[in-house]
Each structure stands twice: as C-alpha cells, then as structure tokens.
Assembly symmetry: C2
Homo-oligomer: 351 residues x 2
C-alpha cells in the first residue's frame, strides 16, 4: 500500500483525517450545546468507519438515503438508522422489513399510497416508525400543507404495523424561519387530532451553525464531514476545513495559460450547484473552466511556466458527496502520509 | 436473476440489446462504405462484450481513455487498443509498459515532456507507437500548430523505443472542415521533414455520418453504441435509437403537476451538456427539471393523475457515458425481457 501521497496513482480521492475529526467534533459540540439531536447523513462519505465515529462522538444514529446504504451500515454495526425516503415497491418493502428486524429503523412517507404499502408490509409484532415528510419550501417531496401532514399522520397512526414518528423536512437552504413556522403549524395540527409528535427532523450543512429553534428536535447534515466549495460559499466552513480533495496530474500544457489535468467529469462530476467552474485548484486562485469525461481544463489569468506536465495538484470539488460516489476506494491522509485506504463500502448502493 | 424488467429494483440501467446491435452494425456499414477504419471508444459502455462485438463486426480495434479500462479490455481478449491520452508519471508508465507487452498498443503525446517519459520507458525491443495529439479547435489538449506537430513527431521518431504512429485529434463538434485542413497541414509538415504519417485519427459520434474526407483514416466514436439526448440533439440519431435508459420508480406526487422519481444526480448525473433538463421521460414530453442526489423532480405542463406513486418510468439521459460510470451492473433487455445482467467491468477504472 502506498504510504505517501506521492506514491498514489491519479486521479485519487484524499480524505484529510485530521480535518474529518475536527469537523465531526465541532458539529457534535454545537448540537450538544444547542440541545438538538445530531443524525448525520452518510450519503457524503458512505464509509462505516465515519458513521461509527460520529455515533461514538454523540450522534443519536445516522441518516441514509437508500436501503442499500442502510444495509451496509447495519452490517457494520450501526444500530439506529433513519431513511427519510418514500419506500415504494415490492422489492424495496421486502428489504425494508428485513432491515427493521435488525436495527432501530425509521422512514418517511408523503402520500397515502406510500403509507398503504408500508401498512401492508409491517405488523404490530415489529412495527415500523414512519415520519411524515413535509414540503416546507424546497419544492421536492412532501405533503403540501400542515393539514395534509396531520391527515397523513392519522393514517399512519391507525395502521397496526406502523407508528407515527413525527415530522421531517428537507428545508430550503437559508430559509429556516419559514420552514420552522410550517413545521410548528403541522405539529399543532397533529396534536389537535390527539397525536403526539415525538420527533421533528430537519437540517442541512449550509445552515448547520444556526441556533436551535422549535419545533425542530433533530438535524441531518451530511456534507459537513468533508465540506466542499459550495459549503464554503454558503458560509458553513472555510477552505481550510475541506477534507476531501481529488489528487490529479497535469497531463498537458497546450498554451502558456492553459493546463489540463487527468480529472474530468468521471473524477469530480459536472455538478455546478451554483458555482463558477467545476472545482478549485487547492492553494491557487484557479478553477476548472471546462470538463470532459477524462480531462479538466484550467485557464490561468496570466501566462505561467508552472504547473509543468507531471506536476500534481489537488482539487477541492464543488460537491463532495457526488465525488465519493464515483470511487471504489478513498485514501485517508494525515499531512503527506497515507494512513489507510478504505473501500467506499456503500458506493453504488443506489437501490 | 430477474427475467423481466418489472422484476428489477430501481434505479437500474437498461440496455436495449437490439438497438445496440443495430447501432453497431449501422456504424460499421458506414465505415466500410466510406473507407475509413472504425475504432470505437469503449468509455461509453465499459463492457468487454460490446468491445469484442464491435471488433467482430469489423472495427480495427478499440479506443480506451484510461490504462485501467485498457487493462480490463486486454484481459477480455481485445488485441488492439488505442489510448489517445498523455500518459505521465512513474506508476502509469510502468503499467503502460506491461500492457504494451500484451496487445498492439498506441498512445498519444502533445509535449516534449510526455514524449521524454515514454522514451525513457520503452526500448527498441518492444517499441511503443505514439501519435501526436493536435488541438484542431476543441481547446483541450494538443499541440497548437502543424509546425509543432511535425517537431514533436521528429522527437518521437528519434527515440529508439518509440515509433511515430501519426496524428490524432479530438475535433470540435460540427467543425470538421477546419479540423481536417489543420490535420492536412500537419501531415504535410511531417512529410516535409521526411516522416511517413501512417494514421490520422479523428471523429466523434455527433459527426459520425459525415462522408470520409482526407487526411483522416480512422474515427473513434463512442456514444453511438447507446446514443442519448445530446446525440439526438446533435442530429446523429433519433430517440428510437437510444439504447440506454434508466429505470426509475415514481416515489412522490406532491402536487397535480409534479412527480418525483428515485433517480437523481447519483443515478443519471448532472451533465447538461447544452440540454434543457436532466433527461427525458421516455414516451412523454416531460424532462427532469431538477435533481438532487437521490431525487429527480419532473414538472408537467398540465395537472395529471398519472403517473401514480409506484409507477415506473424510463429516463433517456443527456449523456449515456457518464451514466454507465455510476453503476456496478447493467441489465441487457430485449422487449420486456431481461436477457443478461453484466458487471460494468471497466467502471471505476479511473486511473
């Protein structure tokens, strides 16, 4: 196994383990001080090691987005998993039932159809906890009004095999107040029909440093373990907090201002998510101007003899989560040392 | 193994094997009739089965973009491989040397530095064929003038372990004439210094139906095996030729016009490459308006009761090649039958 970064072939994903540890600790300290439960989303790293470390530091459990990811984490010893997703279809319901027998599991639903599928699968002997997903402004999934939330909550509560677990939202970024007002109204509507709302789950990385505010009891940030260019732009972190970089080699210097690296859209993805350029060359002002599948093209503002063909650079990507999803393995680093190479165990678990 | 599409879990990649066969045959027939060599790029499918089938139908060999991909194809029995890439660095040069001992191999270079690395690695006993990469307008890699091409060609020809193999370009799409004029001037410049130019390699899928024109002798289309939305827009194919689709399940119907599927950026990528929307729902006018990692959001122009939660749809992606790169396996289909499930053998071979 390579023991220094210089020995690695490129492109390769480097994870700065010291930054990861600092990012995990800082988030947990905030949650503890503010009094909300932290339930990190493992979609960002897909590594059992980091899921278990977050729990060790105080997280109440983890969030996963796919049953396949949750299965990998359960195999690795994670005991409390939240799947904030509408689980639909015979294949997935069978897997969900098996998973519910192994860990403390909760899911979400936003329609009578999803609840009906869950209700037909689970029994009172081993009930499934279901939260109602609320569209509080992001315009993705979710019931469209607090009254609809209460109605769906009642359907869940009536099913012998289901337990009403509370409310969940994926909030619109930087719109917490409106989201919280929506959730408070939904909680009130549920209580008005006699239901207890044990848990209100929200949160994301861009708004992670906001103070605790009712009715939210739990937050599910994910990207904060690595951060990335978009999180820095959102104000959640600095470039020095970014733990994931893509190591690349300069393969061409066609002009005095242009250099080309061996990391393209298959190495860093074409996610722009509001950014200029496809990634930042660490320690420089240069961003990747264009990507093809196996090439990243950088145009410098001034002619320069460096970098030279064969030089290596590290790219801070726009979006760390989608980068993890491309690689079979990542390299943990501390300074210039490669301390461990880990398979991305939950990668490709897209179903 | 599931034997019908209905039995598959989602998201899943479906490859219409009848369309693949028709696409391969039509391209080979064009190459044969026009008199150029077809050297398909396997980056699109990463499957030995399809690489071997293309050769069986008349391709002179294959193109791969990464040594890792080439190694997989060599293991599967492909005997002639072109890597149109600047291979740089000790790790890659060692692998390239091993590969050159196993198959008929050629690579490209666009700088004295790349040629020097190759020259120091290979010997006259088992020389490596090197083509000069030319930037004929695409603005990526490549020497910047025909004179520079001839100069680099001489450097290659002087190295005992290298053989000058000709010229290569990744042409700007829909700009063939300018590209061919550039290549003709470069060929002339090489011949003026006494070099023979055995091969001039160009081509892409968008311009694949153009008639043969000097000085090009070989074309390297890739996407044509599957096609996709961007190829249809470029005029290379119709929607009915598209062989790769992503099977997805409708998981939410938050409003009468919105539906949400379980295929997001981790299932179809965020590649726009000039298109509106992130993919087309096959058989409908609907495109995916927004993507998050595990959700695709479709807004219909008119309210509709369908599709319902649990219904399945198939997505024609903007860019097929990057989709193949996300999945560990793909399902070959004929009509509604799943005929075979194949591992994407060269997936993740990003180095």
């Amino acid at each position: 196994m390579p023991t220094t970064i210089a020995e690695l072939d490129t492109p390769a994903v480097l994870i700065d383990i010291d930054r990861v540890e600092a990012n995990l600790r800082r988030a947990q300290a905030h949650a503890t001080a503010e009094g909300y439960a932290l339930r990190p989303h493992i979609k960002t790293h897909k590594l059992p090691k980091f899921a278990l470390r977050a729990v060790e530091l105080g997280a109440v459990g983890i969030t996963a987005q796919k049953i396949g990811e949750a299965e990998v984490m359960a195999d690795a010893g994670v005991t409390d998993i939240f799947l904030p997703y509408n689980i639909v279809g015979a294949q997935k319901l069978a897997r969900l039932k098996a998973l519910n027998g192994r860990v403390t599991l909760s899911v979400t639903a936003d329609s009578a159809a999803t609840v009906a599928g869950l209700a037909a699968t689970f029994t009172a002997e081993r009930p499934l906890t279901v939260l109602v997903e609320c569209d509080t402004g992001a315009g993705r999934c979710g019931v469209q009004s607090p009254a609809a939330a209460a109605e769906l909550a009642q359907q869940i509560a009536r099913a012998p095999g289901l337990r009403f677990g509370g409310l969940m939202t994926y909030p619109k970024v930087h719109a917490r107040e409106a989201s919280n007002a929506w959730l408070a109204a939904a909680k009130e509507a549920c209580e008005a029909v006699g239901l207890t709302v044990p848990r209100v789950s929200a949160g994301n990385s861009p708004d992670m440093w906001a103070p605790q505010a009712a009715p939210v009891t739990e937050r599910r940030p994910g990207t904060y373990i690595y951060y990335d260019r978009s999180q820095v732009k959102a104000g959640a972190a600095s470039l020095d907090d970014c733990a994931l970089t893509v190591l690349a080699t300069v393969v061409s210097r066609p002009t005095p201002t242009r250099f080309v690296i061996d990391a393209g859209s298959k190495a860093i993805t074409s996610d722009l998510i509001g950014m200029e350029g496809y990634g930042l060359v660490m320690g420089t002002p240069h961003t990747i101007r264009s990507l093809s599948e196996e090439h990243g093209v950088v145009e410098m503002a001034e002619p320069s003899e460096t970098p030279r063909v064969g030089d290596r650079v590290r790219i801070i990507p726009n979006h760390a989560c989608v980068v993890s999803n491309l690689y079979d393995e990542v390299h943990l680093i501390s300074g210039d040392a490669v301390t461990e190479t880990l398979p991305v165990a939950a990668r490709g678990r897209s179903d």
